[in-house]
Amino acid sequence: MSRRSAGREERRFALALFLPAFLLLVATTTLPLLYLVWSSTQRLDLTMPWLGGFAGLENYAKLGADARFWQSLRLTFVYTAATVVLQVAIGLGLALLVMQVRAGQALLRIGAILPIVLAPVVAGLFWRSLVLAPDFGIVDFLTRALGLGSYNWLGDPQLALVSVIAIHTWQWTPFAFLVLLASLAALPPDLYEAARLDRAGPWQRFWHITLPMIRPAIVIVVILRMVTALSAFAAIFAATGGGPGSATEILNLYAYRLSFTELNIGYGSAVATVLLVITLSVAFLLFALRRSR
C-alpha cells in the first residue's frame, strides 16, 4: 500500500470516528446558540405575544439605557474577580502549607473533595439554612457568641453579595488547592536543595523558584475558575435568587429572570448573548495558552 493512500485511509477512518460526535455537538450546541442570537433580535415577550416580530438590534439598543443590565455586568465582574482571586490566593497558601504536612495529607485531600462534588444548588441551600440563616445558622451563632451581633447575611444587599462570593469561594477553593498541591508535589526536590545551599530565604525560594515553576498550573486554575464563575447560577439561585432586589443578580440570573420570570425572552436572549461573548473570549484565551505550552 502506498504512503499516500494509507494517509487517505487514515483520514477517512478518523472522520468516520469523529463525525457522529461532531454532528451531534453541532446539532445540540451550535444550532441552539444561533437560535439564541436569532431570538435576541426578536420582540418575544410571552406576556405580550401579539407584539412579536423582528426587532433588529432593538434589544441591544435597550441594553445601553438599562441600569439593571449595567449593574448586573458590574456584579458579574466583581463576582468573577473576587471569587477567582480568593480561590487562587487561599488555595495556593493552603497548598504551600500542606506541602509541609506529612501525616494526614490524605485526610485533607478527601475533605477537599466534599465541597467540589456537592451540587451547587445543595451548597447554596446548605449555606442559606445551616450556615447563614439568622437565629438558626452557625455563623449567626458564632458572631453572637463573639459579641459581634446578628446579621441578615442574605437579606442585606451589601452582605448578600459578600455571602454569595463566600459560598462560591467555599465550594471551589478546594479545586485550586488540589490542583496547586498536585503541581507543587511534582516539582523536583533537588531544586530546593540547590537553593538552600545558595542560602536563599524562604521568600526568595518561593518567588524565584516555586512561583515560576507552577505558573502554568496557576494560569489553568485561573482560567477554569473564571469560566465556572461566569456560568455560576444554582448556588446563587438557591441562596438569594438574585436578591434582595437585584443585589446578587449576575448576568446569568438577570438573563434567567428576564426570560423565565418576566417572560421577556427576546431581551433575555440579548443579555445571554452578551454573556456568551464574554465566556467565549475567556475560552479562546485558554486555548491560546494551551497551544503555546
Binding site: 477512518f13 470516528l17 445540540t28 441551600l125 467555599w170 490542583v179 467565549l280 479562546f284
Partner: protein
C-alpha cells in the same frame, strides 16, 4: 511553633470544608424541636423520622431519584458512545482541522448554560419535548459530550504509540485495533470520565428546573419541595440533601486520585503526594 500553626490551619480548613455537610447530616437526624433549638444543640436523641418522610412521606423524593438516575444514566451512556471514538480520532489520528476542531470542542464545553437554556426552552416547547426524558438528555449532552471528549483525549494521548503501531502492522484493522488494543489501555481513563459525566449530570440544576416538570423532576430540583414562603422544613431538607448527594459523594471518593486531572480536563496531572 511552626508545627502548631500547621496543625491549626489544617484542622481549621478541614472543619470549614466538611462542616456544612457534617452539620447537614446532624440536622437530618434531629426532630423538629431539636432543629429549632437555639443555640444549636449537639447532644440530642437522634431520629430517623426525616429519612422516613423523605422516602415514604407525602413529599417522597424516590420518584426524583429515579428521574435523576434515568437522566444521568442515559446521558452518560450516550456520551461515552459518541465521545470515545471522537476523542481517539482527535488524540491520535490525522483529523482534518484538528486544532480548530479541538478549540471548538473546548469552547463548547465552556458555554454558559443560561445561553443554552433559553433556545432549548423555545425549541423543546415547539417539539413538545419539555418535561420529557429525551428532551432533558438531549440538553445534558451539551455539557457532557464536550467534557468527555476533552478529558478522554488526555487519556488517549498517554497511551504509548508503539502499542497501536504494533496492532496496525498486524493488519488487524483499525477498528479492531481500537477495540482490542487501545480501549483496554484506556480503561482507567474511560472509567474516570464515566464517573465525572455521571456526577456532573446528577448535579445539574438550571436545565432541570427550566426544562423539567412534574414528570421529570430531578433530585436537585426536588430539594425545593421542602422550602416554601411560610416555612422551611429544615430536617427534611437536610435528609433529602443527604440522600440526594450520597451517590456523588461516593463517586467522588472513588475517583479521588483522579479528581485533579478530571477537574482540569487533563491539563494538570497527579493527585498530590502519595
Amino acid at each position: 511553633m511552626r508545627r502548631a500553626v500547621l496543625l491549626v490551619v489544617s484542622v481549621a480548613m478541614l472543619v470549614v470544608w466538611v462542616f456544612p455537610v457534617l452539620w447537614g447530616l446532624v440536622t437530618s437526624v434531629k426532630t423538629e424541636r431539636d432543629v429549632l433549638a437555639y443555640p444549636p444543640t449537639i447532644v440530642f436523641e437522634p431520629t430517623a423520622v426525616n429519612y422516613h418522610d423523605v422516602f415514604f412521606g407525602g413529599a417522597s423524593i424516590v420518584p426524583n431519584l429515579v428521574s435523576s438516575l434515568v437522566v444521568s444514566g442515559l446521558t452518560t451512556a450516550l456520551t461515552m458512545l459518541f465521545a470515545i471514538p471522537a476523542a481517539y480520532a482527535l488524540a491520535r489520528l490525522d483529523l482534518p482541522f484538528r486544532r480548530a476542531t479541538g478549540f471548538w470542542v473546548l469552547a463548547t464545553q465552556m458555554l454558559p448554560p443560561v445561553g443554552l437554556v433559553i433556545p432549548y426552552f423555545l425549541l423543546l416547547r415547539r417539539a413538545g419535548w419539555t418535561d420529557t426524558y429525551q428532551g432533558l438528555v438531549l440538553v445534558y449532552l451539551t455539557f457532557a459530550l464536550p467534557f468527555a471528549i476533552w478529558l478522554l483525549v488526555s487519556y488517549f494521548e498517554e497511551i504509548p504509540r508503539e502499542m497501536e503501531e504494533a496492532a496496525l502492522l498486524d493488519r488487524a484493522g483499525r477498528l479492531r485495533a481500537l477495540w482490542y488494543v487501545i480501549l483496554p489501555q484506556a480503561k482507567g481513563g474511560i472509567a474516570v470520565t464515566l464517573i465525572f459525566v455521571f456526577l456532573n449530570s446528577w448535579n445539574e440544576f438550571l436545565f432541570a428546573v427550566v426544562l423539567g416538570g412534574n414528570t421529570v423532576r430531578t433530585v436537585t430540583v426536588a430539594m425545593f419541595n421542602f422550602i416554601s414562603l411560610e416555612q422551611t422544613q429544615w430536617g427534611r431538607l437536610a435528609a433529602a440533601a443527604m440522600v440526594g448527594m450520597a451517590p456523588v459523594i461516593v463517586l467522588g471518593l472513588i475517583a479521588q486520585k483522579h479528581i485533579v486531572k478530571g477537574l482540569t480536563l487533563g491539563a494538570v496531572k497527579g493527585g498530590g503526594r502519595r
